[in-house]
Structures are given as structure tokens and as C-alpha cells.
Amino acid sequence: MRRFIVTVVIENKQGLSDPEGETILRDLVLKEGRDEASGGGAGSNGSNESGNNGCRISEIKTAKMLRMTVDSRDAESAVRDVRKVCDALHLYNPIVSMVDITAEPSP
């Protein structure tokens, strides 16, 4: 048995609106980009090409993360076992969410 850190990322399915991510993008990231590009003035066209150090961010999705410490034979087993728990206990809601599970050896 080895110890793994299993990370479970739960996010909305594609096509489902994510108002928090949209707000962060629209009212912080893009706004910051506009303000930097225009020197804080108004009238920008919404592009953030010049702001945010040139980082072109076009979409932000928020997610919930669960980090679990799991003793298992190997990383694959750890992921498989955690997936079973996620499915059985509805740690994510399959109607609206999808889950991404990864495992790394515990430091």
C-alpha cells in the first residue's frame, strides 16, 4: 500500500452556464485588461490583448476541488476507488456536473 493525494475537480457540464466564472472574466479579468490597455479610461472594445501582460483569456470556468488522502496499491487503483465513492455518494451531481480525478504519490 502506498499513500496518494487524489484530487477531485467538480465542474459544470459543458453548455451549463457558470455565472461565477463569467463574472470573474467580465468584471475582473477583461475589465483589468481594458483598464491597463486604455490607461484606466473607458471606451475600450472589451479586448484584453494589451492588458493582463498579454495573456489572452477568453473563458473562465469555476470548479469545486476535493483533495483526498488515499492508501492504495497504485495511482490507478486510487483513482478508480475514489471514482466509485464519488458515484455512489453523489459527491458530484451527474445531472449538472462532471468530475476529473487524478492521483499523485503523497510527498
Partner: protein, 251 residues
């Protein structure tokens, strides 16, 4: 005539259970019992109410942990047997989380906790909680939730609409981003109703002096329905004994 016996399920974090108890007992004269989430629903219960609140502090998702409470197996069984079950706000969230009702309740489009009066429009007036309302009737009622945006995929919404299972819609469109402005739905058989707004906060003059009549009818409907349901179940039980369990008695 025996009083209508209602069980109010209480979870850690429920906070509308006392309001519901007050209205059911003091306003409508029901025989009301609290049912702690680790207990079973008492025999002879005519209807079950899952009240609003923040069960388990909305940890993980609203209703996600409460859906696994021991009492929910009782609620599921009673629902399948035709007992009227009403889930209000967090109660609705719990009913969707445990799969008794379809869909999910997501964070409001505004991302904020919404606490305001709104109007509902009745779409199904044949459930145990709406039989004394009429289709198209407006019901002034408050909402108070952070995760009240009803969502279901297109097929599910289509099935709900075709099956007459949309019980309430918001009158002024989708106040919180709910698909189709849906505010309440019911099960296939109609005996389980989930709704985000709070009828217990709108059903008496003291809390709704403008027009408490329509919200009162939600509970008056139950008052009229429960004795009929009780009689029906007695007949089914009797037919089962006489006929060896075959067939079902006519109500």
C-alpha cells in the same frame, strides 16, 4: 374525524421547520410532528414535509448530504406509495438530490441570496397541494434561497411539461435563471411536489396581509386531500386482505 397527520422532517441546519409547524398546526389545525432525520416517519402519517433551511450548512451542495439521511429511505417509500410529500426550498433541493424529483437546483444566476416576494402561476391544479387552486392563478409568495435556479436537461424539461409536472412557474419570467421559469414540479403520480418559494411564509394574514388566500390554498388542498387518500389506502388494504392481494380497490 381524525386530524390530518403531518410529519416535518428536520435535518441539522433546517431552519424553517418551526415556521412550517406553526402554520400547519396553528393556522390549519393539522396534527404535526417533527421527525428527526435519523428516525423513521411515524406510522399513520398522512403527509410529509421537508422544510427549508440549510441542511448540513449546504456543504458540498445544497441538500446533497441530507439526501443520504436515514429518514430519506422512509420518505422514498412513502412517496412511492402515494403519500403526499412537499419539499420547500431546501426540501426541494433534497428531493432532487436523492432522485425523488428530477433535475437540480443551481446557484442563482445573480450569484446572490435572493430574498424577495414574487408571484407564481399555477400550471398543475391536481396535486395534493394544488387541488384548491386553479390553473393560471397567481400566488404571491416569497423566495429565500441562494441555490434556487432549477435546471434539467431538455429531454427532462420536455417530459415534465408534457406530463403536466410543472406545478408552478414564476409569473415574471425566470427571476433566478431557472429553466423555463420553473419554480415547482411534481412526481409522475403528482403526490410529491417540490417548490423553491415558501408557502408557510405567505399563508396567514400576519405575514402576508396583502393576499394570503392563494398560498393558504396549498395547505387547504392537503387538508381536503389527506382524508380521501387515507380512505383510499384503507380500501386498498381491505381489498388486499379479502382478495389475496390481487388488484386494487376503486377509490
Amino acid at each position: 374525524m381524525r386530524l390530518v397527520k403531518v410529519g416535518i422532517v428536520v435535518f441539522p441546519g433546517s431552519n424553517c421547520d418551526r415556521d412550517m409547524h406553526h402554520v400547519l398546526r396553528d393556522v390549519f389545525g393539522f396534527d404535526v410532528q417533527y421527525v428527526w432525520h435519523t428516525k423513521t416517519v411515524p406510522a399513520g402519517t398522512d403527509a410529509v414535509v421537508l422544510p427549508g433551511g440549510f441542511s448540513y450548512g449546504d456543504r458540498l451542495r445544497a441538500g446533497a448530504i441530507a439526501a443520504h439521511s436515514p429518514v430519506m429511505s422512509d420518505v422514498r417509500r412513502l412517496a412511492s406509495e402515494g403519500t403526499p410529500v412537499l419539499g420547500v426550498c431546501n426540501g426541494f433541493q433534497i428531493l432532487t438530490e436523492c432522485g425523488i424529483l428530477p433535475g437540480a437546483l443551481l446557484v442563482n444566476e445573480s450569484l446572490g441570496f435572493m430574498c424577495q416576494w414574487t408571484d407564481l402561476v399555477v400550471e398543475n391544479a391536481s396535486t395534493p397541494f394544488t387541488s384548491m387552486l386553479y390553473v393560471g392563478q397567481r400566488v404571491p409568495i416569497p423566495i429565500a434561497n441562494g441555490e434556487g435556479r432549477y435546471y434539467a436537461d431538455e429531454d427532462t424539461v420536455r417530459d415534465l411539461q408534457r406530463g403536466g409536472r410543472v406545478v408552478f412557474r414564476y409569473a415574471d419570467g425566470s427571476v433566478n435563471g431557472s429553466v423555463g421559469g420553473i419554480a415547482g414540479i411534481c412526481s409522475d403520480d403528482g403526490n410529491v411536489v417540490g417548490m423553491m418559494p415558501h408557502p408557510e411564509r405567505a399563508a396567514e394574514y400576519e405575514t402576508n396581509p396583502v393576499d394570503c388566500g392563494p398560498a393558504r390554498m396549498i395547505f387547504e388542498s392537503l387538508a381536503g386531500y389527506a382524508p380521501v387518500q387515507r380512505q383510499r389506502q384503507r380500501q386498498i388494504s381491505h381489498a388486499g386482505r379479502v382478495g389475496g392481494g390481487e388488484g386494487e380497490a376503486r377509490p
